[in-house]
C-alpha cells in the first residue's frame, strides 16, 4: 500500500468528491471549496447519467424522483471502482431491491436491463444451429448424451422471476402513463441473449431458467435430467424429465443460445 504524500492527497481528494460532508483539508479555503463543489457535481452527474442511460426503462417505470433516490443510494453503497463507467450499474438490481422492497418487479426489470447491456458488447459468437447440432450428435450413444455439456452464448443470462417482464417491457415501450399489476400467479423464468447484434429475452418456466443456469455452470445434460426428475423418481418421471429437458434443448438451439457442444 502506498502512503506517499501524493497517494495521501489523492485519497483525501477522493473522499471529498464522494462525501459532501467531508471536512476540507487543513489549509484549504473558499476557493478550494468552490472547486471541490465542481468536481462533486461532475462526479454525480456522470454517475447519474450513466445509470439513467443503462436503466432507461427502470427509470421510466419508477419515475424521475424515485430513480434519483435509488441512484443516490447505489452511488453511496456501491461507488464505482472500475475504469469503465458502464460498470457503475453492477449490483443496481440489488439497490433497487433494497429501495423498492415492496415492488420486486423493479429489481427484476433492472436485472434485465443490466443483462442486456452486457450482451450488447459481448464477443461476437456464431450460434450452433439445428443442422450443426444434429451432425455433432449423430453418433452419440447414451453415455455421450449423459455427458453432454453446452457452451452458451457469452454473457447469456437467466433468472427466476415473479413478474411478467414481457408485459412490463412492452408497457414501457408504449405511451401508457400508468402500469397494471405485473405480478405472476406463479414464478417464471427469463432468458436473455443476443440475436445478431440485438439483445433480447423471453419468459420461460422457472424450471427452465434454473436448468439453464445449472448447465451454464457446467452441469451435464444427464445430471440436469436427474435434477429435473427429482429424488426417487420412477421411470415415468424420468422419461417426463427427459422430455422436458429435450424441449428446453430444442428451444435453446432454435433461439441461438447455444454456441457449441463440450
Amino acid at each position: 500500500m502506498t502512503h506517499s504524500p501524493l497517494a495521501q492527497r489523492q485519497t483525501a481528494f477522493m473522499d471529498q468528491v464522494l462525501d459532501e460532508a467531508a471536512a476540507l483539508p487543513d489549509g484549504w479555503g473558499e476557493n478550494h471549496a468552490d472547486g471541490i463543489k465542481v468536481y462533486r457535481g461532475n462526479y454525480r452527474s456522470a454517475l447519474m447519467d450513466a445509470l439513467a442511460s443503462t436503466f432507461e426503462r427502470t427509470a421510466k417505470y419508477v419515475g424521475g424522483g424515485p430513480f434519483a433516490r435509488v441512484a443516490a443510494h447505489h452511488a453511496i453503497t456501491q461507488p464505482p471502482s472500475s475504469w469503465t463507467i458502464d460498470d457503475a450499474g453492477a449490483g443496481f438490481d440489488q439497490s433497487c431491491a433494497h429501495v423498492f422492497g415492496e415492488n420486486p418487479e423493479v429489481a427484476e426489470l433492472a436485472w434485465l436491463e443490466w443483462a442486456m447491456l452486457g450482451l450488447a458488447t459481448a464477443p461476437d459468437t456464431a450460434s450452433l444451429d439445428g443442422a450443426g447440432f444434429t451432425a455433432a450428435t449423430a453418433a452419440f450413444g447414451d453415455d455421450d448424451w449423459s455427458q453432454l455439456r453446452l457452451v452458451f452464448q457469452p454473457r447469456a443470462a437467466s433468472r427466476v422471476i415473479g413478474n411478467d417482464l414481457t408485459a412490463i417491457w412492452n408497457a414501457l415501450g408504449s405511451d401508457a402513463a400508468e402500469w397494471p399489476n405485473f405480478a405472476l400467479q406463479e414464478e417464471a423464468g427469463c432468458l436473455v441473449w443476443r440475436e445478431g447484434e440485438r439483445p433480447t429475452f423471453i419468459m420461460v418456466s422457472a424450471e427452465e431458467a434454473r436448468t439453464f443456469a445449472q448447465m451454464q455452470d457446467g452441469t451435464s445434460y444427464g445430471d440436469a435430467c436427474v435434477t429435473l426428475a427429482g429424488d426417487g423418481a420412477d421411470e415415468a418421471a424420468i422419461n417426463d424429465a427427459a422430455m422436458r429437458a429435450g424441449a428446453m434443448l430444442g428451444r435453446w438451439l432454435n433461439e441461438g443460445l447455444i454456441a457449441a457442444l463440450h
Binding site: M1, T2, S4, P5, L6, A7, R9, Q10, T11, F13, M14, V17, L18, G27, W28, N31, H32, D34, G35, I36, V38, Y39, N42, Y43, A46, L47, A50, P79, P80, S81, S82, W83, T84, I85, A88, L119, A120, T121, A122, P123, D124, T125, P154, R194, E197, R198
Partner: protein, 287 residues
C-alpha cells in the same frame, strides 16, 4: 522512456468525435473530415454493434483513440487490465495515435470518472513520468497527453502547468494534445496568462488541438466550467489562432462536443471555421 526513433509525424487535418447520435451519418455518407476521434473506453469492448460500426468507420477514416480513464497521475500506478484492453483496441484499430489526459481519476478503491487535478509537484511529475513510460512501453508507441481544465490548485504546487508538461515531454518522449479551451478555462479560473502558458510549452511536441465550448462564470459561480455542450466561444477561437501562429508544424484540429450534441452539419460548419482560421493564419505567418 519511449524509443526516440519511435516518433509521431505531424498530421495536418480537421476532425470530429465519433458519437452515437452521428453513427448513421458516418455509415451512410461521405463525411468531410480528415479523421475521427473516439473515446477509448466506449470501444474497449469485445464485440457487438458498436464495435462493428467503429470498424466500418475506420475503413473510411483515420481514427484517433482518446481516453479518459488511464489515470496517468495515479500514485498507485496504472491499471494493467485497462492497459491490456487499450492495447487490444489499439491493435484492432491501428489509430493515428493514442491520447489521454494529464490528470488522475482513481485511487485503489474508487473511480471518480472525472478528470481530477494533480498537485503540480516534483513527486507528481515523477509518478506521471513513470506511468507514461509504463503506458508507452505497453502500447509500443508514444502517446499524446492533454492539458486538463481545472477548478482548484494545490497549496503544495511547485511548478506551473506548462513547466510540468514541458518536463513531462522531455523525460518521457510523449507528445501533447493542446486543448485550447482548457487553457482558457484554467487561465481564467486560476488567474494565469494564456500567452505565458502557450509560450512556455514545447510546441514542437504538439500534434493535436481540441476546441470546445464551456459554461461561463455567473454571479453565483466564479469558476468557468468545461462542458463540451456548446459552440466554441470567440475568446477560444482567438487563442486557437494565436496557438496556430506559434506552432512550428501543422497539427490535427478537432471540435469536441459531448453533451447537447447537435446535428452533424452544425459541427461540420464549426469545423469549417477552424479550417478557415488555420488557412488564414498559415498565410499570414508565411507572408
Amino acid at each position: 522512456m519511449t524509443d526516440p526513433m519511435n516518433k509521431i509525424p505531424p498530421f495536418d487535418g480537421f476532425g470530429l468525435g465519433l458519437r452515437r447520435t452521428h453513427y448513421d451519418d458516418f455509415l451512410n455518407n461521405d463525411v468531410p473530415v480528415d479523421f475521427v476521434e473516439i473515446i477509448s473506453e466506449n470501444y474497449m469492448i469485445e464485440g457487438g454493434r458498436q464495435m462493428r460500426i467503429l470498424e466500418e468507420v475506420r475503413a473510411k477514416h483515420p481514427v484517433i483513440i482518446h481516453g479518459v480513464s488511464m489515470s496517468i497521475g495515479s500514485a498507485g500506478g496504472l491499471d494493467q487490465d485497462y492497459l491490456a484492453k487499450l492495447k487490444q483496441l489499439e491493435q484492432r484499430i491501428d489509430p493515428l495515435w493514442v491520447s489521454d489526459h494529464l490528470c488522475w481519476t482513481r485511487t485503489s478503491a474508487h473511480n471518480s470518472h472525472d478528470l481530477l487535478p494533480l498537485p503540480l509537484t516534483q513527486e507528481a511529475l515523477g509518478v506521471v513520468c513513470d506511468n507514461i513510460d509504463n503506458a508507452q512501453d505497453a502500447l509500443g508507441r508514444p502517446m499524446l497527453f492533454e492539458n486538463p481544465s481545472s477548478y482548484l490548485t494545490f497549496p503544495e504546487d511547485e511548478l506551473t502547468e506548462w513547466e510540468f508538461l514541458t518536463e513531462m515531454t522531455r523525460r518521457t518522449g510523449c507528445y501533447l494534445l493542446l486543448d485550447v479551451n482548457n487553457i482558457y478555462v484554467s487561465s481564467r479560473n486560476h488567474g494565469f496568462s494564456a500567452d505565458d502558458y502557450l509560450g512556455g510549452l514545447p510546441l514542437d511536441r504538439v500534434r493535436q488541438i481540441h476546441l470546445a465550448g464551456h459554461d461561463p462564470a455567473t454571479a453565483e459561480r466564479s469558476l468557468i466550467i468545461d462542458t463540451h455542450d456548446r459552440e466554441v466561444c470567440d475568446e477560444v477561437w482567438a487563442l486557437y489562432v494565436k496557438a496556430l501562429a506559434m506552432l512550428p508544424s501543422p497539427v490535427a484540429t478537432m471540435i469536441e462536443r459531448d453533451d447537447k450534441i447537435p446535428p452533424l452539419l452544425e459541427l461540420l460548419k464549426e469545423l469549417d471555421r477552424a479550417r478557415g482560421l488555420a488557412s488564414a493564419t498559415r498565410e499570414q505567418v508565411s507572408a
